[in-house]
Symmetry: D2
Subunit: 477 residues, 4 copies
Amino acid sequence: MEHESSNISSGLHEECGVFGVYDLNGNDVASTIYYGLFALQHRGQESCGIAVSDTNGPLGRVKSHKGMGLVSEVISHEDLEALPGNIGVGHVRYATAGESTIQNTQPLVLNYAKGTLALAHNGNLINTPELKKELEYTGAIFQTTVDTEIIAYHIARERLHSKTIEEAVAKTMKKLSGAYSLVIMSPRKLIGARDPLGFHPLVIGKLDNSYILASETAALNAVDAEFIRDVLPGEVVMIDKEGIHSNTSLCQDKVARCIFEYIYFARPDTRIDGVSVYDSRIMAGRILAQTYPTNADIVVGVPDSGNAAALGYALESGIPFGMAFVKNSYVGRTFIKPKQALRVSSVRIKLNVLPEVVKGKRVVMIDDSIVRGTTSANIVRMLKKAGATEVHVRISSPPFLNPCYYGTDIPTGDHLIARHNTIDQIRDVIGADSLGYLSVDRLSDLVKGDRGYCDACFTGNYPIDPPKGEIRGEHDV
Amino acid sequence: MEHESSNISSGLHEECGVFGVYDLNGNDVASTIYYGLFALQHRGQESCGIAVSDTNGPLGRVKSHKGMGLVSEVISHEDLEALPGNIGVGHVRYATAGESTIQNTQPLVLNYAKGTLALAHNGNLINTPELKKELEYTGAIFQTTVDTEIIAYHIARERLHSKTIEEAVAKTMKKLSGAYSLVIMSPRKLIGARDPLGFHPLVIGKLDNSYILASETAALNAVDAEFIRDVLPGEVVMIDKEGIHSNTSLCQDKVARCIFEYIYFARPDTRIDGVSVYDSRIMAGRILAQTYPTNADIVVGVPDSGNAAALGYALESGIPFGMAFVKNSYVGRTFIKPKQALRVSSVRIKLNVLPEVVKGKRVVMIDDSIVRGTTSANIVRMLKKAGATEVHVRISSPPFLNPCYYGTDIPTGDHLIARHNTIDQIRDVIGADSLGYLSVDRLSDLVKGDRGYCDACFTGNYPIDPPKGEIRGEHDV
Amino acid sequence: MEHESSNISSGLHEECGVFGVYDLNGNDVASTIYYGLFALQHRGQESCGIAVSDTNGPLGRVKSHKGMGLVSEVISHEDLEALPGNIGVGHVRYATAGESTIQNTQPLVLNYAKGTLALAHNGNLINTPELKKELEYTGAIFQTTVDTEIIAYHIARERLHSKTIEEAVAKTMKKLSGAYSLVIMSPRKLIGARDPLGFHPLVIGKLDNSYILASETAALNAVDAEFIRDVLPGEVVMIDKEGIHSNTSLCQDKVARCIFEYIYFARPDTRIDGVSVYDSRIMAGRILAQTYPTNADIVVGVPDSGNAAALGYALESGIPFGMAFVKNSYVGRTFIKPKQALRVSSVRIKLNVLPEVVKGKRVVMIDDSIVRGTTSANIVRMLKKAGATEVHVRISSPPFLNPCYYGTDIPTGDHLIARHNTIDQIRDVIGADSLGYLSVDRLSDLVKGDRGYCDACFTGNYPIDPPKGEIRGEHDV
Amino acid sequence: MEHESSNISSGLHEECGVFGVYDLNGNDVASTIYYGLFALQHRGQESCGIAVSDTNGPLGRVKSHKGMGLVSEVISHEDLEALPGNIGVGHVRYATAGESTIQNTQPLVLNYAKGTLALAHNGNLINTPELKKELEYTGAIFQTTVDTEIIAYHIARERLHSKTIEEAVAKTMKKLSGAYSLVIMSPRKLIGARDPLGFHPLVIGKLDNSYILASETAALNAVDAEFIRDVLPGEVVMIDKEGIHSNTSLCQDKVARCIFEYIYFARPDTRIDGVSVYDSRIMAGRILAQTYPTNADIVVGVPDSGNAAALGYALESGIPFGMAFVKNSYVGRTFIKPKQALRVSSVRIKLNVLPEVVKGKRVVMIDDSIVRGTTSANIVRMLKKAGATEVHVRISSPPFLNPCYYGTDIPTGDHLIARHNTIDQIRDVIGADSLGYLSVDRLSDLVKGDRGYCDACFTGNYPIDPPKGEIRGEHDV
């Protein structure tokens, strides 16, 4: 079970990961951030960066290194050595093509009346136009196209009328509408903030005398840190030399965690707000076995994210679990896509089927989603060519019907096959013998009955109204 | 199930992959070679290259592109476009550190009395010193430190007294002692040759009107080609505009296929000489379940290569199969290894354990080999920390006791834990509750009872005597 | 006579060059900017950039490309092709080490209430702290450390209360104190502005139906454009589809052109405000011959900038002119400086003396300045080793006594040899037989008697008071 | 006076430079080679390399670093540190486009029966086909397309029947026909060899306890070494721990030094076989003044190589010398050539004319050669546009009529304007008011009356017969 960075059939992307460390003993933290970002790489592969500072050094001397590409491509041993400091933040980012520029890399490092700030942001704001307009008419200039810059402006301005930076952050949050998990470094403090609906995860960890903020618990494991607790939806945590301080004044009853973090985005070895992502996926498989049983000889998952749900289906149904696919893990960013003239397809190069596993068998194939349907069709075809007599496709999420405005790249309706096709039509398009989706009704089972999640991409029930006349993609993440 | 390029616990490397295409219709083949090398990337990640020619163009005009790094790093879209030609060969290479230089990249392209040759070689010769001495005293100069150059010299010299290039290859083979799967391009022919003992695989495929030679059948699948047959141990195949020609005069009864290709090196979706690698691994797991049964709650495999054997163990024992590990697939060549000062370990960054899978359980952990033991110890520790109550380690190969002289990097005895420790001592070193290795006696079961394999690394029964006073590593691959 | 980019003995740097084009016919301008920046490369070699827009395209869609290094290193053919648009600005930059970062590259591209702006700036402001403070306390955040960002903020804010962008620029200029030659692109206009004292040059040119703004006339020649006129000190010129418009409301009587542009910074083939730089240097040489005559056999100039003054000295004195030095033009940014252990020196590698020219001769050696004295000492030593019997050093500027606050890197007093040594002492330090500097009184002769120049680095007569307690280097350029 | 690497009007290239050092005290030499190659960069800008060894270390352990590009681009500080050893050779190379590949970079490092060799070669052999054929039919394979490999083979083979490496070199020289200045490193010796006709230079220097071999004396100056003497045409020098040894058995009466080394290729600060290159050029200018006097107001040289001859013309004629051109020294390898659509020309970007110098004047313009005539025409046009009333062109060499087979890129007749045009026609093509070439009869005056030079490119008197049916360019350099 590998990181779920790029599910082969859906191609969907989570759009950012954040990481921050404050070492109370004064040790350098850049290496820890480096390994933390490695563990969050599945949340963004287009650019990354680290900014550090020394709480005992001159106020506000921030060093940063950012670039386009993977953590291993952007940050060298020499770069790490040139990032001294015991407090720091890091970021991995995914963006839609047009805005994937060096200007938009994070952490955003800035100087303002009260010193320096470095911000790393995961999420997407709904009220960017209003926030921006307000800033523009009081003389702001924008050098990036990321929401982070807008948040930074508001914090900097609130700070002028606040006693502390964490107060400024809290005041700013009252203006922000949308999804955000923020990690912020001021000269002497590390701050974490999560939007009141808690769309995306943010956790607190501890390693010796260091406090850590991270998008996922898996990043704590990677650096051998201990999980302390989740940052609460609406909470601001501030870490200084005295330790952790919390402001929960914006916490509220209603929360709306992104259910797709559980289904696909997060690593299976992450726990979000007390629920194991792995358990969620096993449960999704079990539910599919209950709601769409079938007579079959083997259950297989489309790598990597389909495997856990496939295990759940196997456990529930009693049909043996198998591993039918061999994945080529060398297909990276610079991979040259095959031209039309060649008979080889990108899917074919990434994925091969083991005939030994499926030949002469009725196969249940589990995947986490279908976006356009073309890749699923390719995989079903490969299974049949390898000798599968039947292919029953089960999807561990409901059909996508609506775009997401909160920080993922689920596209607008026009590109969603389920928007314009019945289940039977989709089944025919992908060439499956049967097709079953997870029911919207059962989503709450993935998070142990808790109803505090966002399923707008399936249901259209947006916890915050999307901007009028707005289509996804115009805003950056 | 991902490519088995770098098993996390053993760290062993296969040392080369070869690929060749001849398109009888005159279409360019560089793209096909590119995708073929992608599928063989697990056989060598240090350097790669492609050389092409046009059988209808001026005789012996060869274009090549080579470099240090992965296929995706070395070869760009522009590079492919600058490689026109309907005949070509490609290579991926792994080498020990000192000799991983640009000079040693392949295919080796050369000019001699009869035109041009491009050679790609997988394997290792035993009698390099003698072959080299003979050449030196007749005025050879060496610009690389690879065996391929020595083979090339001999072919070029035999060619002076042969009617055809394939005859020269066959004559040369009589002088070579050791392991070699060769793919050779002459101006108008594509030649494949496999040593008489057949240490490493070499197969023939067909895609439309193209003939393909490749180290593994999985590379045929990747380009959507049809598998024709294996090149026989000792056979020379020659492809020209008339089709395939074969010379089997060097074929013999005794063969010695590398058994570790089945256990670890080859992709699970490859078939070698009629035996499915996947089936071999399932069988290894079954044998372990028969010979080292245990009371346990779950069977898990160390990614990626341990998974198939784990499935076999589960099938045979009835103990449920589980996936306990999450692997970080972003750890590439440029990954910065953690310094001692940090508590994080390389294993920890590459691999995380899912407590949900192992907590409170007795775990059978399947891996394909133990070399030094340190990584296995780390993984066992991680399982226990995640709550496993017992960890029973089963290894799908016998203990390594001897170095390999035929093209893999199994080290000399001093670095092999099994050489100086009893099974019980190894069990203690790695912290397992029990430890079982595959028995040497059962190796033949992996290849359906066929006794024609080499197991020298386990038994010391070298099918060709290793060079006297020779230690592995002085020769290149 | 080569570009005067890096005089070997002084090592002083001009600190920026700007270039802008508006093509009324709608043709792409990126290539023209590229060649224009090439011709201005001597004004800044650390970073460069181009930003373009299409006046007929969607409002405010700006494309830019920036990077660290020379124009030829940063901008590729592909980059130029990805910069479509008929209006654009470019910049070359030099900065002191610490602030030579990607964030500080220009043109600065930004978005604000009224659309987009791209700014390129040559010069240095005196009242940055006040301007910044004002901005900070009204909620500005700073992502760079360049003055350009501060200017941009003020323009963006003034624009909110102005009818046009050019009005906003003019209002901003009333607040700015210091040196600035600005080229600004708004969605539909190209704007040039020069500070009221006119420290640095800015000229207008025309090429077919394109208007061009550039730091020097030599950049007009390079793209085959016709020189129209200088932008006046204090003038704002605005070019739109109707042509050129001018606002001279800030023009004043007093101007203070940097005299060192004539002596050293500008290209000899540039004319600044009606005076040929080449003529200025010939005149400097003539004055030296008048004021410091000597009996000598040959006059030589230290390349490249010393040659014109040497010609002037030769013409005035009747002593023959010679070329005694051979310069290595391959010494670029990445040149590895010799270690102490080696006897070779950087000067030695850059410069060699022709014994044929100086052997047995009394030599007059002309250079444009002495900063620390060490390099001059090296060159005098080389001349004597090559056989010169006497070396009489003549400097075509007065001694440096004070730092510059207006955009050049003349260092603070501590590093200026003339601050702590008499002329005789300096002569001894550099090993010359005699030494003569240009007299401060004669500087006006270089610009044909015009008294409107700044000579503060020689005299301390700062046309604008330097910031209190300020030392050069804390502000960026 | 800058390095004459790439005369703007002719564009001709010298084709290699060599450098070698043996430090008897055991100090590392890579840095000295680096600075030596810097000084020889004008002799080859396409690739370069360094190979070193330690005479006290294990026999034949050679480290090398080579690459495409300038010395400053290819060799980093880290590369130098990874090249330990007290004996080494270096090379800079220019090649025609097709063969400018990494395989052909030098020094060529090889292994043979008697150990290792590293070879660096400047020149071109005439009898390559015969030498190659002989090798091929005794079983040689070729991995490059440079003559150096052929020379290496012959040395390696002679070594089998010789007592010493220097004896093998001398025996090999008897077989070689053509131009070669060789620097060779064996495990314990540094060897220099120059062909019996002495086409290209090779000199011996000393720096402390290091012996140096270099293509030009200017490279000795650059590293502060003392000039000892020229290697004689036909001589083999061998340096070992005992010092220098010489074998002059191949020296002969007839020599044929390339006269164009004096006119253009070599640095002006180099002395070749006792004659100063600078003096040669001054003399060429003087002769032109004698043979083609004119009434003019100023004499100017086309940078950089035209300047010395222009000084000579001025001295002889009494017409004042001037510097009319400003050259852009930033135009490097990656410079993007202007497209047809733009009015700017490459010449225009590289060169600007100072109107102050030529306006209203009758100008004598000195250049070292005319190849195709187009660039000269451009420059004459620029002078006239800047106001020159007359332009009298004087060329410091005779007209090119024949290709060179000895190591320079003077093209075949078809591309030489003088081959198909009378002097009057050429004058009209370039738009000059008069045109005069140096007379073939006066060439000996450039080398003080010595008749031992090659002027085949002007006269067709080839000192060694060119290969039959051979055209330049098929052989590499």
